[in-house]
């Protein structure tokens, strides 16, 4: 994909949206901590950063979905007309020409596709209560006109108004629903389009089409676009400028080449070790390769940080990136040709994998590739449409969730799912829900509280008061209390600071050394592969690459797809 040429340096006229010192804190969390950002007319600006960096919150602050605690947000409607956006009602901000899409799709599900777009035209529509009373005349003409325009917009985003126009919006395929949301946003005739992960769940071909659409909207319709995305390949190729957020702050802001070479950015995405390994390496791929090289081979990494990290913040006494060589243990988990569909979208399309005793197997892949769906299916939370999955003697596709947990396939879910209103200790007790050996449970809980001082100190506090990293530890400890034969970890590093990510991975590595079998899904591909014995790469529901973790790390295709070159 060829990048869009940069917009000429800013004159006063060029600025469209200006954020200065924007701050949003709640409950002790600095979601957005003093961010300055400027978006010029006709730009396509990307907003990236690890999960939990505050990107969506920032957009929410602009659109009025969140309260601004400090700072200003100014919209330059034209050279002389500047509006303050802080703490305005959502509909007012939208009326000024800011259209947005949502991370979790928000369509008018039961209304027709065309009606979704027509409703998007609300701001430009005159009140027609009277004229609509009769089926002819100006009312009917207006209706026909709107329908025409809606169809044109649908076609523009790549939908088929004839075939799909009258369907209920919720019955569209997932990718089409995302496109519909954009069509609806366009109906507002916005100046600025704020897109929150618009490419989630799309395959590469669809992403390319999306990129083309956005480019043409900017070039032909004079739109400006601010886009939150995780797909670095898409972002690097599409955006003229990229702003990177981490921990509520903006850590970089510039053209793609500059940003991708920025060590702070690399650190935020890959972790501190990668940053120091990168040193003067100068770009993400090289950094990743350097990290991979440094951990190939057995036992301890030659990275000087490894020894220090042994005494991590969680008080875990364990080695760094020790890895077992390939073990020939019994196969615990066997998945064959698994298909899982949500309605008519096939999220998982014929996946086969296996996990043997003592291994750490990792599933990596882009968002929406189907990784979490597979894990949810294995734990009995989602029904598979076909295939086989066995865990020892248990048929995972037929046994319910309680039976699977009783068979000791324990999952630490994405987002942790900690019970915030229960105490730390009660959360741990629930981890042993399916067990009948009460005395042993009590001993083990005491052990866990001792092993993890952060938990021990807060044992009687509501778990909701723990920080993200502490909750992750709690979730893992809770999982361990289920006496797992197989521990399934879904995105354990989600929303954690790089330092904490290191510590969580150290913890996981320690568990591996103790002999625990682990199935790990991670967005942080490099760290996961460093830790793992074997790995599978998932792309839009299918396994595209599989093999030894070290091989995958060195595989250029993996590198380019997930490491952003």
């Amino acid at each position: 994909m060829t990048p869009v040429p940069p917009v000429p340096p800013d004159t006063d006229d060029a600025v469209l949206l200006e954020l200065t010192g924007v701050r949003r804190h709640f409950g002790g969390v600095k979601a957005v901590d003093g961010v300055d950002l400027q978006v010029d007319r006709g730009e396509i600006v990307g907003l990236i950063g690890p999960n939990g960096a505050g990107k969506t919150t920032l957009v929410n602050l602009v659109t009025g979905h969140a309260r601004v605690d400090a700072g200003t947000i100014r919209l330059h409607r034209d050279a002389r007309d500047v509006v303050d956006l802080e703490n305005r009602p959502v509909h007012r901000v939208a009326g000024w020409g800011l259209a947005r899409t949502f991370q979790n799709l928000r369509l008018y599900g039961e209304l027709s596709v065309v009606d979704n777009v027509i409703i998007g035209m609300h701001a430009h529509r005159r009140s027609d209560v009277v004229s609509m009373m009769v089926p002819v005349g100006p009312g009917a003409r207006g209706r026909a006109e709107r329908a025409e325009r809606a169809r044109a917009l649908l076609a523009r985003v790549g939908l088929d108004p004839d075939r799909q126009g009258r369907q209920a919006a919720a019955t569209l395929a997932y990718g089409d629903q995302r496109r519909l949301e954009i069509a609806r946003a366009l109906a507002l005739q916005p100046r600025l389009l704020l897109l929150d992960e618009p490419a989630a769940g799309m395959n590469n071909a669809e992403k390319d089409r999306l990129a083309d659409l956005l480019r043409s909207l900017v070039a032909d319709d004079g739109l400006t676009v601010l886009l939150i995305e995780h797909d670095l390949r898409l972002v690097m190729g599409l955006c003229q400028r990229i702003a990177v957020m981490d921990f509520g702050r903006k850590i970089a802001d510039g053209p793609p080449q500059e940003v991708s070479a920025d060590p702070a950015v690399i650190a935020a995405y890959l972790g501190a070790r990668a940053a120091s390994a990168a040193g003067s390496a100068g770009d993400v791929a090289a950094a990743a390769a350097a990290v991979a090289r440094s951990s190939v081979g057995d036992a301890r990494s030659t990275d000087p940080e490894a020894g220090g990290a042994a005494e991590g913040g969680f008080g875990v006494a364990g080695p760094g990136t020790a890895r077992r060589s390939v073990s020939a243990g019994t196969t615990l988990l066997e998945v064959e040709d698994l298909h899982v569909a949500y309605g008519a979208i096939e999220a998982v399309r014929g996946v086969s994998l296996s996990v043997a005793e003592g291994e750490v197997v990792t599933l990596i892949g882009a968002n929406g590739a189907g990784k979490s769906t597979i894990l949810r299916t294995l734990s009995g939370l989602v029904r598979a449409s076909s295939g086989r999955a066995t865990f020892g003697a248990v048929d995972l596709l037929r046994a319910g969730a309680p039976a699977i947990v009783a068979a000791r396939l324990i999952q630490v879910p994405e987002g942790r799912e900690i019970l915030g209103t229960l105490t730390v200790e009660e959360n741990l007790q629930l981890g042993a829900w399916h067990r009948t050996d009460a005395a042993a449970v009590r001993t083990e809980i005491a052990q866990q509280l001792e092993r993890f001082p952060v938990l021990g100190q807060r044992r009687s506090l509501p778990a909701g008061q723990l920080s993200g990293g502490e909750q992750q530890v709690l979730a893992i400890a809770r999982g361990l209390l289920g006496r797992p034969r197989l521990l399934v970890l879904d995105e354990p590093s989600l929303g954690l600071a790089p330092r904490l990510v290191e510590e969580v991975f150290d913890l996981i590595a320690g568990l591996h050394t103790e002999g625990l079998t682990i199935l790990l899904v991670e967005q942080n591909a490099v760290r996961a592969l460093q830790l793992a014995t074997r790995g599978y790469v998932l792309e839009t529901g299918q396994v595209t690459v599989a093999g030894e973790a070290s091989e995958l790390l060195a595989n250029p295709r993996v590198q380019s797809a997930y490491l952003g070159t």
């Binding site: 919150t57 799709l105 009140s127 009373m133 919720a170 309605g343 008061q465």
Partner: protein, 315 residues
């Protein structure tokens, strides 16, 4: 069953014999339409009997004390109900789902107990005698109903109606689509109040005597049942529900004693097997849209976007 047969074979005789029933059907239909308006905009409100009481009592009081012509009385009743709707609606419409429903129930009961039972002008709970009652004034009810149903149906295609549909479907998205949700919701609520007040006025006019039991909570629930059973896709749905369920005891004369049992059973069956009501589209098998990333922000803190996130009533 004689009931239905006679309807078709001897319509005018049937009408003379069942005038009261036809009147009741009309009033209930009007009430059901009043609740339909708010349901269409995504709100479950059970305040209709409270507004009905305001409309009814205003009409009768004006007739007793001011001797003003009937249409004026009824209009004043409806408008007063609307005004009260504005006052109540402003604070209450921030609530969602069950909380809104309960608040409106509370309002209805406050009206009934607090005002009607205590004020001398309203007869101190003993009811009021209507000096100008006309038990034959049935046709006006149905004419008003017909105009309303047609008008509301056309309204659903207007900017206003589509805004309501958007709010019902996904309020957050509607706000992001530049729709002033607070204003539109208030509008639907007030319109419902006016219609309920209108129903109250017409109903009072048909009776020689009005008393507070007419406006009890149970009636509000009954009205909800009419609307729901009929289907809330179009305004004709609640009318169908009201007509059928009001006539039910006559149709099943022999089972008259068990009419409420039948009502309840029908309700339970419809809600499970035909939740869209009698007139409605079967909701398509929706694809469950899976969010790309369910918990992007840290799990500890969350953003209070709306005060209460109990799910809103579906269509």
């Amino acid at each position: 069953m004689r009931f239905l047969i006679d309807l078709f074979t001897h319509p005018s005789a049937w009408y003379s014999a069942h005038r009261l029933l036809v009147a009741q059907m009309g009033i209930n239909s009007l009430l059901a339409v009043s609740i339909w308006v708010t349901l269409y905009a995504g709100m479950l409100t059970l305040a209709n009997v409270g507004f009905m009481a305001i409309g009814g009592y205003t009409t009768v009081i004006m007739a007793i004390h001011l001797h003003t012509p009937l249409p004026l009385n009824i209009a004043c009743g409806a408008l007063l109900a609307g005004a009260v709707g504005v006052v109540i609606g402003l604070p209450v419409l921030r609530l969602k789902g069950v909380y809104l429903a309960i608040a409106t129930v509370g309002f209805g009961e406050v009206v009934r107990f607090g005002i009607i039972l205590n004020l001398g002008i309203t007869g101190k709970g003993q009811g009021l005698t209507n000096p100008v009652a006309d038990t034959n004034a049935i046709l006006p009810v149905w004419i008003v109903l017909g105009i309303l149903v047609a008008g509301l149906w056309r309204l659903t295609r207007s900017k206003l109606g589509q805004a309501w549909a958007a709010i019902r479907s996904n309020e957050l998205a509607a706000a992001s689509g530049a729709i002033d949700t607070a204003r539109y919701k208030l509008g639907a609520f007030v319109l419902g109040a006016v219609l309920a007040g209108l129903a109250g006025g017409l109903d009072a006019h048909l009776n020689f005597f009005i008393d507070p039991t007419e406006y009890a909570f149970n009636r509000a629930v009954l009205v909800l049942i009419f609307a729901f059973v009929g289907g809330i896709l179009v305004p004709a749905g609640p009318v169908l529900g009201a007509v059928l369920l009001t006539a039910l005891p006559e149709i099943f004369r022999s089972a008259n004693a068990y009419r409420d049992v039948l009502d309840g059973l029908i309700l339970m069956l419809i809600v499970v097997f035909r939740p869209q009501g009698l007139i409605g589209r079967r909701p398509d098998r929706h694809r469950r849209t899976r969010p790309a990333r369910p918990h992007a922000e840290p799990a500890t803190a969350s953003e209070p976007v709306s005060e209460l996130a109990t799910p809103e009533p579906g269509p």
